[in-house]
């Protein structure tokens, strides 16, 4: 709504501009801190999902019930702890971060599922397949966390 019929005085305008610039700088600082925290969170999540895939491929815990339960429990506890740490530490989100992270997490999870299916179908446990695959699987999350650095 615009009811300002009188032209504001010079000082008021400059004060407003200063306030806008201050807010802009503050917003940018908050956003950068949020991006840095988000990047650490994405790296931790990517590392855990990649590590779990390699555990599944090389230790093959499915053959041993207790090893399977232990490995899965450790993975879930790690993910939950990381999510809780992030939720407690987060003070802001940078523009587009929730959407960017959600897409990256969905792609990584999809690749994880495809990896399990591939393992089941081929039974192949060669390092030249799984180490690069785990890296590629982690890439979407790593990329989501690193986008801010290029801005």
């Amino acid at each position: 709504m615009n009811n300002n019929r009188a032209t504001p005085v010079d000082n008021t305008l400059r004060e407003q501009l200063l306030a806008a610039e201050t807010g802009d700088g503050v917003g940018l600082r908050i956003s950068r801190a949020a991006e840095a925290l988000g990047a650490r969170y994405a790296i931790l999540m990517a590392a855990q999902v990649a590590a779990y895939l390699l555990v599944v491929v090389y230790l093959y815990p499915q053959q041993n019930t207790w090893l399977n339960i232990g490995a899965t429990a450790a993975f879930v506890v790690g993910l939950v702890a990381t999510c809780r740490w992030y939720a407690r530490s987060r003070r802001a989100s940078s523009p587009g971060w929730p959407r960017r992270y959600s897409i990256a997490f969905a792609v990584t999870t999809g690749l994880f599922g495809a990896g399990l299916a591939l393992l089941d179908i081929t039974g192949n446990r060669e390092w030249w397949l799984w180490v690069p695959y785990a890296t590629v699987m982690a890439l979407p999350l790593l990329a989501a966390g690193q986008v801010w650095r290029s801005k």
Binding site: N2, N4, T7, L13, L18, A19, G23, G27, R88, R90
Partner: protein, 104 residues
């Protein structure tokens, strides 16, 4: 006969809700983030709880800011974000502000 519309003076584009510097700072800060926690905005804008609370209330009623309450564990948290209306108002206000200052 058509009457030509006179160009609008930039002062008419100034937004009454954003004419207060503290409100302008809040909105400008929120324009750079998706959302930010109340206490973070308070600390970085350097205002007190009641001041921020009051100004956020005004901006919320104007439809410029959205406040969402939630919990992290047992701790309550309020998340502030700029609405599309608020973003447009800020852009219009800043354009008018720059035009007025240029004319001085």
């Amino acid at each position: 006969m058509s009457i030509e519309k006179a160009p609008v003076h930039p002062r008419l584009d100034l937004d009454e809700y954003l004419s207060l510097p503290v409100r302008l700072s809040i909105v400008a800060a929120l324009a750079k983030v998706e959302e930010a926690e109340f206490s973070t905005v308070r600390d970085t804008i350097e205002v007190t709880d009641p001041v921020l609370s009051k100004q956020v209330g005004v901006l919320e009623n104007a439809g410029y800011v959205a406040a969402k309450k939630g919990y992290v564990g047992k701790r309550p948290r309020t998340w502030l974000s700029l609405t599309d209306t608020g973003r447009e108002a800020l852009s219009r206000h800043l354009t008018a502000l720059h035009a007025l200052i240029k004319d001085l």
